[in-house]
């Protein structure tokens, strides 16, 4: 299995000498590296302050059009300067600026209200400037993809295997015929089998555009099992190009057919995964509600806002530790549990406990609470959505087999919701609180007679349900907007899942959540997202008519009474 990071422009571009030095020597063998490195150390300073490089940089800064910028970038790439790769990386990531006063090209990074700037060639610290003292060197998509290509070429001999592989794939995707020879030469020197194979594929893909029919057909044969989108696109073009010979077109059509057949099989798998992942979000959102709903049938309309508080907790955690985004979620999960749990307990103590047994009043009161919470968040954090960053380990997708990839954030959330579910189940089954909760849910009077402080159990159960809502909020912050309206979007779905599954039944919530997710996703491609949602609701209404207590009705005396 191979992890594939999302193609974000913020590619991981290192900025340490050895790598640059090595990669700039495109044709150089590895043996020459050591000598090269020593030479580099000796002449490091002289090389860094090269006047030619500075002049090219100046040209880059002065360029008015994207074409001119690209020309300058090309010259940088060819300069052989040890920092060329780093500068191109900075340009690609939008960190190259020109100063307003003298048009000097600098690398700028946000620091407080302004920027900390340094010289791109020598790395010399140039101090701090204000936000409007520098202008960014702008990029458009064409320039961005050309830059990516330049960087890939410089990285073909990178030490790091995954970077080398990424560079080869990039060239296969958007390189031109000139690169075939370079790649072929590289293949002779490569020792890693996986990379060797990647080089062969890249060469075959590039040969698809060959003038000569025989080479073309051989290339088509070589890529016929390849599932990448760009290969498919190229083959489709070949198959439909009337100016080509019939043989090529037929070969392309055959290869396409094979690919399509394979794609169809994967499609069903993807749909199932989409369904399960949608379902897991539903389960996560509904499971806390199921707990609070279980005790005395409290309809907590503020459940969505408890989820929202969890999401805002994630935001606050990320703001508090801006340098540790990758660890923010593990910190946010317990924090959100505590924050939402405490708010939940406050709601229960302050409002809900006076209204037990009066479902309509509870509904209205908690609805009021939900509005208050929303407006509070709006006042404290502003009505605008807050930016929650996705940690790098959650972005991108993981390729199970070529052509079938699962997105990582969804995969983690699916696993996470199952873990939460299992933990909750364990708590209910093996802890004293769980035992008491089940007792109170099944027969309150009897439980009281046995000495259980049902009042306290109500409070803790409400807190538990609210805490789980907060944890769900952490997960949702990775999928959707973190704003004051986050909760509203999920409250209806949560109720739907709980009612369908059977009130107060955890397994019911799991089955109904996953089931509804899969059904929605199976319907969606056929009828569209809007109609799919309507159909699911209609089905639910009909189902509740037939079986008012859901899939798994509560058993026992409480249910009968």
């Amino acid at each position: 299995m191979e992890r594939r990071p999302a193609r974000r422009p913020a590619a991981d571009i290192g900025r340490h000498g050895v790598t640059f030095f090595r990669s700039r020597r495109r044709k150089g063998g590895r043996a020459r590296l050591v000598t090269g490195f020593l030479a580099f150390l000796a002449f490091a300073h002289a090389a860094l302050a090269s006047p030619e490089f500075a002049e090219t940089l100046e040209r880059l800064g002065a360029a008015k059009s994207y074409e001119d910028r690209l020309l300058a970038a090309r010259r940088l790439a060819e300069s052989g300067h040890p920092n060329a790769l780093a500068v191109l990386g900075d340009l690609l990531e939008g960190r190259l600026y020109t100063t307003r006063t003298d048009g000097r090209v600098v690398v700028a990074e946000t620091a407080g209200e302004g920027y900390a700037i340094r010289d791109p060639a020598t790395g010399e610290d140039l101090g701090r400037v204000g936000r409007r003292d520098v202008t960014r060197i702008g990029l458009n998509n064409q320039l961005r993809s050309s830059l990516r290509m330049l960087i890939a070429k410089l990285r073909l001999e990178d030490d790091n295997k995954s970077r080398r592989l990424a560079a080869i794939e990039e060239i296969g995707r958007s390189g031109d015929a000139e690169m075939i020879d370079v790649l072929a030469e590289l293949a002779g020197r490569e020792h890693d089998d996986k990379i060797k194979k990647a080089i062969e594929t890249a060469i075959a893909v590039l040969r698809l555009d060959a003038e000569d029919a025989e080479t073309r057909i051989a290339a088509i044969e070589a890529v016929s099992g390849n599932m990448s989108a760009h290969v498919r696109a190229k083959l489709t073009r070949l198959a439909g190009d009337d100016s080509l010979d019939a043989e090529t077109r037929e070969a392309a059509a055959r290869a396409l057919e094979r690919i399509e057949a394979k794609a169809e099989r994967y499609e069903l798998l993807s749909t199932m995964f989409f369904g399960l992942s949608l379902g897991s979000v539903l389960v996560l959102a509904a499971i806390g509600l199921s707990v609070t709903f279980g005790i005395k049938g409290v309809i907590n309309m503020a459940h969505g806002e408890l989820i929202m508080l969890g999401a805002y907790t994630t935001y606050v955690v990320q703001q508090a530790f801006p340098s540790a985004i990758d660890y923010s979620l593990p910190i946010a999960i317990p924090a959100a549990f505590v924050v939402s749990g405490l708010v939940g307990i406050a709601i229960e103590r302050g409002i809900v406990r006076f209204l037990y047994g009066r479902p309509l009043e509870t509904l209205l009161a908690t609805f009021g609470v939900s509005l208050i919470l929303q407006q509070t968040v709006r006042t404290v954090f502003s009505p605008l959505n807050r930016s929650v960053t996705t940690p790098s380990w959650m972005s991108g997708s993981i390729e199970i087999v070529p052509g079938f990839a699962l997105t990582l954030n969804r995969l983690y959330i699916l696993a996470f919701s199952l873990v939460v579910f299992a933990l909750l189940l364990l708590v209910l089954r093996y802890t004293r609180l769980g035992l008491e909760m089940r007792a109170v849910t099944q027969n309150r009077a009897m439980a009281k007679a046995m000495g259980i402080r049902s009042d306290r159990v109500d409070m803790l159960a409400f807190g538990l349900g609210a805490g789980i809502a907060g944890v769900a909020g952490v997960a949702l912050s990775q999928l959707t907007n973190v704003g004051p309206n986050l909760g509203q979007a999920y409250i209806v779905d949560s109720f739907m899942v709980v009612v369908f599954g059977g009130v107060g039944n955890l397994w019911g919530t799991l089955v109904s959540g996953l089931g509804l997710g899969v059904v929605s996703k199976l319907l969606e491609p056929e009828v569209g997202a809007v109609l799919a949602k309507i159909l699911v609701l209609v089905f639910l209404i009909l189902f509740i008519q037939k079986r008012p207590s859901g899939l798994f009705p509560q058993k026992g005396r409480a249910a009968e009474g």
Binding site: A6, R7, P9, E113, N385, T390, N481, G483, N485, A489
Partner: protein, 430 residues
């Protein structure tokens, strides 16, 4: 019911009083109504516009107000509740007696207040891009009509990027539906085949984009350059772009051009997955003009936060407000009828270094810019129309409206004049 009776009574009394006092009321201030949601779902977008108006009014007062009188802002909160918009509009016009109202964001809120403004002959400046197919005597549309945003964006994709396959994705309500209908007809008129157009609608706040993105990916692997034209509404955008990035689609593979993603929307999200995707607007904060720098500086000083962004609807209010001031000064009165007459042809500078003119159809001239989203949440302007584009109230690409035009100057004085039948169907829009 009682409330209604009361309102009617108040209205009657107010009418009597104003009739007695005559149109030239001896007031110290001129009231300006601001009708933007400060709570509820739309607060996210509209609060900023309220602040913009307060800033513009403060500025004008520093310059001595209008006609020697100070301007007095009257802020009400319609709370993202469409019927409440109509009630608040009535309150502004009847109780507060404002000279003009700046407000509304969604089309449904505008449609809700429209009868009130027409009945009471008020003035409304509407600052947001919308689907067109409307021209009221009482409304001035300072946002973009479809031909000032959607059509130039499609032209850019078609001519500059060579896009041949089109996904029209939108949220399921009136603005995306109408815009996509216009775009579909437009694309077909340019020779795009039916099979090269994919149309998709999703519910409000849609957050699970997995299967739709997978479908777009499939649609895009047919060997032709594919682009997505997105009329997806606010909140659904973040999960949409995140899913695109996660499924490995970059802006270089399948660019998305959006009509409702601006600086304000970007300031609340992790921009990583969006870099390189496009937006079409008539104003970008990154415009390198002196007017713009000055506007941004004033905005930061007014709001007390140098991180706040400016956006397209703010510029629309800036233009609309200046037009109204100029028209009032030209007419010498704030009387709506006089202002309506005076404002047509009024020209004021916009923030992109050009001039915006109020046209007889109550739409204004605007330049169109295409920007690519950058890491910092700003736009790199990659294309612009050579000159300004005149807003077209009734789209030429819809069969039902291609013969209809709006002209609020004599002798026509009609918002929907059918050039074929020579009929004006008054303020009714069907």
């Amino acid at each position: 019911m009682i409330k209604n009776e009361k309102l009617k009574l108040i209205a009657a009394v107010a009418a009597l009083v104003s009739a007695a006092a005559g149109s030239a009321q001896a007031q110290d201030t001129i009231k300006v109504g601001i009708l933007h949601s400060l709570s509820g779902t739309m607060a996210i977008s509209e609060t900023t516009l309220k602040d913009t108006m307060l800033m513009l009014i403060e500025e004008q007062n520093k310059k001595g107000g209008v006609l020697g009188k100070k301007l007095e802002p009257v802020v009400v909160d319609p709370a993202s509740d469409w019927p409440l918009f109509a009630e608040k509009a009535r309150e502004l016009l009847e109780v507060e007696k404002v000279a003009v109202v700046f407000g509304c964001w969604t089309s449904v809120s505008r449609k809700s207040v429209l009868p009130v403004f027409e009945e009471l002959n008020g003035l409304l400046f509407y600052p947001v891009q919308y689907e067109g197919e409307e021209s009221s005597k009482n409304v001035f549309y300072t946002g973009a009509a479809p031909n000032q945003q959607a059509i130039p964006a499609v032209d850019y994709l078609m001519n500059e990027l060579g896009v041949e396959r089109w996904v029209l994705a939108g949220t399921d309500y009136v603005y995306p539906r109408t815009t996509n209908r216009i775009l579909e007809t437009y694309l077909k008129s340019k020779g795009v085949a039916d099979s090269d157009i994919m149309i998709n609608y999703t519910p409000f706040g849609h957050s699970d984009w997995q299967s739709i993105i997978a479908e777009i990916k499939r649609f895009g692997s047919a060997g032709k350059k594919t682009a997505v034209v997105s009329t997806i509404n606010g909140d659904a955008n973040v999960p949409f772009y995140k899913e695109l990035a996660n499924q490995g689609i970059s802006a270089e593979d399948i660019p998305v051009v959006a009509f409702s993603v601006g600086e304000e929307e970007l300031s609340g999200i992790d921009t990583g997955p969006l870099v390189g995707h496009l937006a079409a607007w008539n104003y970008f904060m990154s415009l390198p003009t002196e007017e713009n720098d000055e506007f941004i500086e004033k905005w930061h000083a007014f709001i007390g936060d140098s991180k706040r962004v400016t956006n397209d609807p703010m510029e629309a209010h800036y233009i609309g407000f200046n037009m109204w001031v100029k028209a009032v000064e030209k007419a010498g009165t704030t009387d709506p009828a006089a202002v309506q007459e005076a404002i047509i042809g009024v020209a004021v500078p916009n923030l992109s270094g050009g001039i915006a003119t109020m046209m007889p159809n109550h739409h204004i001239t605007k330049p169109v810019f295409i920007g690519e989203i950058q890491e910092d949440g700003q736009f790199e302007i990659v294309w612009e129309t050579p000159g300004t584009v005149v807003g077209d109230a009734w789209s030429d690409y819809l069969p039902s409206s291609k013969d209809i035009m709006a002209d609020w100057t004599p002798p026509l004085m009609c918002g929907n004049y059918n050039v074929k039948t020579g009929q004006c169907s008054g303020q009714k829009y069907e």
